[in-house]
Amino acid sequence: MEEYVGELWHKLVTRVADKQHAEAAVSLDEMSKTAAIFFRALGGDAGLNLSAAPSTRHGARRGWRDRLATTGERIELCWRDGETLRLPEKIDIFTERSLNRDLYLWLVALLAANVDDSLPWIVRNQKATQVTLERFPGLVARYRRLINALLPLRPLPTSLPAAEAAQEAVIRQALIQPGSIHVLPPSKKQFQPVVLWTHPSPPMSANNKVSTSDGEPEREQSEDKNGVKSRKKHAAERTDMPDGKDGFLMMFRAESLFSWTEYINVNRPQDEEDDVESAALAAEDMDTMTIARDGETSVAKLRFDLDLPPAGEDDAPLGEGIPLPEWDYKKQIMQPDYCRLQELVSQQAEPCELPAQLRRTARRLRSQFQALAPTRTWLKRQQDGEEIDLDAWVLQEADLLSGKHSDSRGMYRAQVNQQRDLACLLLADLSLSTDAYASDHARVIDVIRDSLYLFSEALSATGDRFAMYGFSSLKRGNVRFNRLKSFDDRYDGLARGRIQAIKPGYYTRMGAAIRQASALLAAQPQRQRLLLLLTDGKPNDLDRYEGRYGIEDTRMALHEARQLGLRPFCVTIDREANEYLPHLFGAGGFAVIRKPEDLPKELPLLYAQMTR
């Protein structure tokens, strides 16, 4: 009964206090693509991801209704750091939908403005407003509309105690006349958050304010130098903003320990474990799990490493391992010999036939692709062509002489020339994420396996030279590069056996794998060389190879591939790929397959389109 009444009361007061307008709400989901392109068009950094901002406590005075209902104490504001552009998940401040939408675009424009981050918050925002309005005069009217709608929602200075009233007056002034205010007067109570501006103190930088100016915290450094203590602090700090999408850190209290097994998303810790020995040491234990508990903050951090299988069961290494460089975008340097890539070949693979369920499709593909095989033929009796078709002419002349009626047929010969001078290397992502189910009855890895089969069938019909490799990684010391079929191998039972033997494992250090694949492909004599990447997600690895670092390294590796005269193309089943693939492959450089189960059929067709 008590509970029931409580619930009713909660409903009642939150409804009274709720200032939001659900029917006019605009969500980030519907805006994300527009917002991202708008951001880039206005000069924003193309490498940033778009993501929802977690709500933060603003600590400002709330109305009695809000206090009664304990609502309105948190707010979603926007900000930008080194990797992400954070926007509110939804905006429902105004009664009109168009105003809420305009606010999104306004925030994006504001974040795209290049303003000195070290300026005080209030000056910075005014400056950004000025810069934006000057560059895009069309936004002036929109800004005025937003101000006119916003000001009535803010507390009146007259209704506030003196110090807060002074602050509020200054903020109002700054909104109405950007550039007119230079300092924000102090007040004990926080001012009402300004939704038209960026976050005054984004959560990520809150703890690092002393050491760094603003924006991006120097995460790795502080961790390396200060060790455990600062790492914990960091973890505690991260709890403020559990990150829904990326989810690389898993926070939990001790009582929820049992739920970790259900957690599929593999943990990617923040710390740098750079030395190869530690990776080798890790290989000795199976599924190590380290739990660090911090009594003070009651936050613990879970890590578990995936270990390399014992040498006897693992795929046979070929050669010593190849040192490869890696790009560090923060320092803007190429780190030479930073990764070690090991080419492997499966030991368990036994020659096999094409799986029965694929045979029909394979047969059809083969006959389709045979049409692409190089031919060089003369077409006779053309209306137009390089040569005179003497036969046709003689025949026609003879017909004319003998008095027969002759329809004027073409009397030229034309050459149809279909030269195919190309080599293709297919690089398949075999990381652990491919163990997930793509549909009701197939895992991603199964889909990839079928795709590899059909792709090989199609390509062997065209006669194009091709190679297939799979890759995964476990930190920089163990980039695994599985040879399925090299350029010189025949596509035979053994190659099929190797495809059959692929299994998911480890992480996705894309850059190193792409570099190696590029090197192999660049050694081919063909004039057109296609590097086809088949993947299901972003680059990531157990060390710092995730987020922007991984993306930028991959981007650099692709840039190098293009320099070598190769053409990279990505086929992915990651639905969120539109967020980062354009940055890596360019607008026409990738294809997203919405239904993973279509991949085996789509892949050869994509290849045919690309090389026609």
Binding site: F136, A141, T611
Partner: protein, 260 residues
């Protein structure tokens, strides 16, 4: 000279062209679509008072199409010159537009013409044509097209001196828009600012970016009385993308410049 096509110079390209012509050097012009390559050649041909033979290369264009062929006329075979042969006979500029689009074997016929021999052997008739001093070979191509099966052979490329064109700077582009269409400066500036915003999306959201030519189109529409946002949508947004969501974002950029 009153018929000289409008061309806004953005560097030393006019001087280089003249020097190349005087010294019998063939010229390769590369640059994105709509940045003024063809206009430049037309301008120079008019300036130097040379006839201009333009061939728009397409993927079925063969060497025969350039050089010429035998035709059957009244039961006789008659040799018919192709545009390249005609240009060599008459002198003047032969301009092969988008030369990489042509089939790979096609460009090889240019080799003897493009080096110091300056001859065009016609193997079908056995004739060897020597190019007069006024003859100049100019080819252009767009390196931005990711045309996978096409590219220019190094042996062809290395016979040309090369000029790289790019979109003009903002002030020059404003001058071009005013010079081409006579719109006022404020409007020209806004159009150029939109174009530069779109150009930031290259290789990311757009495969091809707004060319100066498209800006001129937009300016023409506006000059004709078309409402600016409408003109920009027609000339820029819908031309550049087929993706509805990208189009929405591009329209926002236009509204941010012209909007109410």
């Amino acid at each position: 000279m009153e018929n000289l096509p409008f061309y806004q110079s953005h560097g030393s390209e006019i001087e280089l062209f003249e020097r190349a012509w005087r010294n019998n050097l063939p010229l390769l012009i590369k640059g994105p679509t709509g940045c003024g390559k063809t206009r430049f050649v037309a301008h120079m041909a008019a300036k130097l008072c040379l006839p201009l033979h333009t061939v728009a290369c397409h993927d079925d264009l063969t060497a025969v199409d350039l050089v010429g062929r035998h035709l059957i006329v009244d039961g006789q075979t008659v040799w018919s010159d192709g545009p390249l042969t005609r240009a060599v006979r008459e002198g003047g500029i032969c301009y092969l537009d988008e030369v990489v689009e042509a089939r790979k074997d096609t460009t090889v016929v240019l080799h003897p013409l493009a080096d110091d021999r300056r001859i065009l052997p016609i193997d079908r008739t056995g004739e060897i044509l020597a190019a007069p001093p006024s003859f100049m070979l100019v080819v252009s191509y767009n390196p931005g097209y990711q045309n996978f099966l096409k590219g220019m052979k190094p042996s062809t490329r290395q016979r040309f001196i090369s000029l790289a064109f790019d979109f003009p700077s903002a002030t020059q582009e404003v001058a071009i828009l005013i010079g081409e269409t006579g719109i006022d400066e404020m409007l020209a500036k806004r159009l150029v600012s939109i174009a530069n915003a779109f150009r930031a999306l290259k290789d990311h959201d757009l495969e091809e970016v707004a060319s100066t030519r498209l800006l001129v189109y937009a300016a023409m529409l506006i000059k004709d009385g078309c409402e600016p946002t409408l003109a920009c949508r027609a000339a820029l947004v819908e031309t550049l993308t087929d993706d509805p969501e990208t189009a929405v974002a591009l329209r926002e950029v236009i509204d941010a410049t012209f909007g109410l």
